[in-house]
């Protein structure tokens, strides 16, 4: 009797509703990706038809009708190089900031600084771009680029070009500044999520703060920190405004990034710069959309790599925060 009553009280409707809603949401995400992909594909169809894979590997860029030539390689390289330089600068600094906030800073300081870091993550990229264009590049050129060029320019080809302020390195450094808040905010959360008993295990053995970080915190948080860095990389790859304003916007073979002080270009910034001029009936327009398609693939590729790296790191020891 009472069992029947209990069974009747259970209501399975909500479960079905939940399942249907969740499935719809999942399908919606897939649909959007397919739509975007389809649109980019159809709009860029002409360029693939004409150039084929040479569009990806070519380095010439000439939109003048009759003499058209389009190659994406310098911009693919520009995107990857600026993003990677930015990542190399941003990751150690961000993890340092996160480490300070989670391990060293007293609560009194931790809260305001964390707040400021999160605030920085919310600053629109055009603001970073303006600051980079009007202030940073000048200071950076006078205090870093020119002295470095004078000292090393003759010996190391990476520093060969006379610095002008609008170049690969300036864009990369501003990119780094832009992704530092994101990476540090996420990393801080990851470090704070390391259970206290993990830290205590090391403290118990008489470890110093740094040793605790090295022995307990870092291995535990490793995959999460990689995830945070990839998040930053994703932002850097797609970043448009600030890069366009600072990278120098070279086109053609000379945009290929061979030196820090050279004018370059990236996939996102060449699209932003030129799509105003492209007429939809020429080859120019499909070429720019083709660059967009490549950018989409680069982003997807980074995400896939991220997943593979995180899986390798977590599988290696089964511990730590799985996935991200």
């Amino acid at each position: 009797m009472s069992r029947d009553l209990l069974a009747k009280k259970r209501n399975f409707h909500w479960d079905s509703i939940f399942k249907i809603t969740a499935t719809c949401a999942g399908a919606f995400v897939l649909l959007i990706i397919v739509l975007i992909f389809g649109q980019l594909m159809s709009d860029s169809w002409l360029i693939w038809e004409k150039e084929g894979l040479a569009f990806v590997t070519g380095d010439r860029w000439n939109p003048v009708e009759g003499r058209e030539a389009f190659g994406a390689l310098p911009y693919i390289a520009g995107t990857l190089v600026t993003s990677l330089i930015a990542l190399c600068i941003a990751v150690p600094l961000s993890i340092g900031i996160a480490m300070f906030l989670s391990e060293i800073a007293p609560t009194r300081i931790r809260e305001p600084i964390s707040f400021v870091v999160e605030l920085l993550a919310a600053v629109p990229s055009i603001i970073y771009g303006l600051w980079g264009l009007f202030t940073f590049r000048i200071v950076f050129k006078d205090w870093f680029e020119s002295p470095t060029h004078e000292a090393l320019g003759e010996h190391i080809f990476l520093f060969r070009d006379a610095p002008f302020g609008l170049d690969i390195l300036t864009a990369s450094v501003v990119l780094a500044i832009m992704i530092i808040p994101t990476i540090s905010a996420v990393s801080r959360e990851i470090l704070l999520a390391v259970p206290a008993i993990q830290r205590e295990a090391a403290y118990m053995l008489g470890a110093t703060k740094w040793e605790v970080f090295r022995m307990s915190v870092l291995p535990y948080a490793k995959s999460g920190l990689i995830g945070a860095s990839i998040l930053g990389l994703g932002r850097a790859v797609g970043e448009t405004m600030a890069v366009t304003m600072l990278i120098g916007n070279a086109v053609g073979p000379k945009a290929f990034p061979f030196g820090f002080f050279q004018q370059g270009n990236s996939l996102a910034s060449i699209i932003a710069n030129e799509f105003n001029e492209a007429s939809p009936v020429s080859m120019y327009f499909p070429a720019l959309i083709g660059l967009g398609l490549i950018l989409l693939f680069v982003s997807l590729g980074i995400n896939v790599c991220a997943h593979l790296i995180i899986r390798r790191v977590t599988n290696a020891h089964e511990g730590g925060i799985k996935g991200f």
Binding site: Q198, M204, G206, T208, E318
Partner: protein, 288 residues
């Protein structure tokens, strides 16, 4: 009223004087020392509050050297809290505030000139929940403390690791797979690994918070043998919910209740003939 309070104070002083004069145990602690009869750890007027809320209040205890002292009491009475004061683990807990003294070898570990890091190297701890370093192998887990202390010689490390694992009764189960990740072990094996890790640094004082709670009867028995073996060299403080275990391994037992040390005496006395009714009720399982 004032006279009254003063009288009480004087009475207390007079009470204390004869027993403390020649560095002898306090009145309520009979002189039944094991080992060489010295005290290793003196706990004086110790209190801990979490965010202003008292978890233990005014605890006074003299922990004998080369002996086992057990802490018993119902869940939440403050056993872990008391244990963690001894190696200053509360330094790391937000909102925890410790007052009073812990005197080890004549030095108050809470004195400002004491470096808690050096202090902790002399004190081993086994936590209530097993917490091996998840990314390290079994070997590395046990070696961790030694490496921190600058032991680099592989053969010395191997030797100490083997000894420690044997004392923790884990050696036979893991000797062929020391490179296996520690998290691949079962819960009870992880607990014994943590015991081995604490033993490897050869601590003067060993703090064990329910070290056998995740172990089967055979492993428990072996760990108890180890504890009895270890007390020849070390001072051991063990928290346990198992009355039989306290009776088997300890020389002294402290019974805690709601943050107070209700009674602290020779283990036999606590279990056979306690002074306080509360203690009697608890050890006979009439509450808890």
């Amino acid at each position: 009223m004032e006279m009254n309070a003063l009288d009480v104070l004087n009475a207390m002083k007079n009470d204390e004087q004869p027993s403390t004069k020649r560095n002898e145990p306090e009145k309520e602690i009979p002189n039944n020392m094991t080992g060489d009869g010295k005290y290793k750890v003196l706990i004086e007027n110790l209190a801990v509050a979490y965010n202003g809320k008292k978890a233990i209040k005014n605890i006074n205890m003299k922990i004998p050297d080369k002996a086992v002292t057990a802490l018993i009491g119902p869940s939440g009475c403050g056993k872990t809290t008391l244990l963690r004061t001894i190696n200053r683990m509360h330094d790391l807990t937000k909102g925890a505030e410790v007052t009073g003294k812990i005197i080890i070898d004549g030095e108050n570990v809470y004195d400002s000139y004491i470096n808690p890091i050096l202090q902790r190297r002399k004190i081993g701890m086994v936590f209530q929940k097993p917490n091996p370093f998840p990314t390290m192998s079994i070997w590395d887990n046990v070696a961790a403390g030694l490496k921190l202390n600058g032991v680099k010689d592989k053969s010395i490390l191997n030797e100490i690791i083997e000894d420690s694992l044997k004392m923790a009764y884990l050696w036979d189960e893991v000797k062929d797979e020391l490179k296996k990740p520690a998290v691949a072990l079962s819960g009870g094996q992880q607990q014994r690994l943590c015991i081995a890790r604490a033993l490897a640094i050869q601590p003067e004082v060993l703090l064990m918070d329910e070290p056998a709670s995740a172990l089967d009867p055979i492993a428990t028995q072996k760990i108890e043998q180890t504890i009895i073996e270890l007390k020849k060299h070390y001072t051991i403080i063990i928290v346990t919910h198992n009355m039989q275990q306290a009776l088997r391994v300890s020389d002294r037992t402290g019974f805690m209740y709601l943050g107070d040390l209700v009674e602290y005496d020779k283990t036999e006395k606590i279990f056979k003939n306690p002074e306080k009714e509360l203690t009697a009720n608890y050890v006979q399982g009439r509450f808890g």
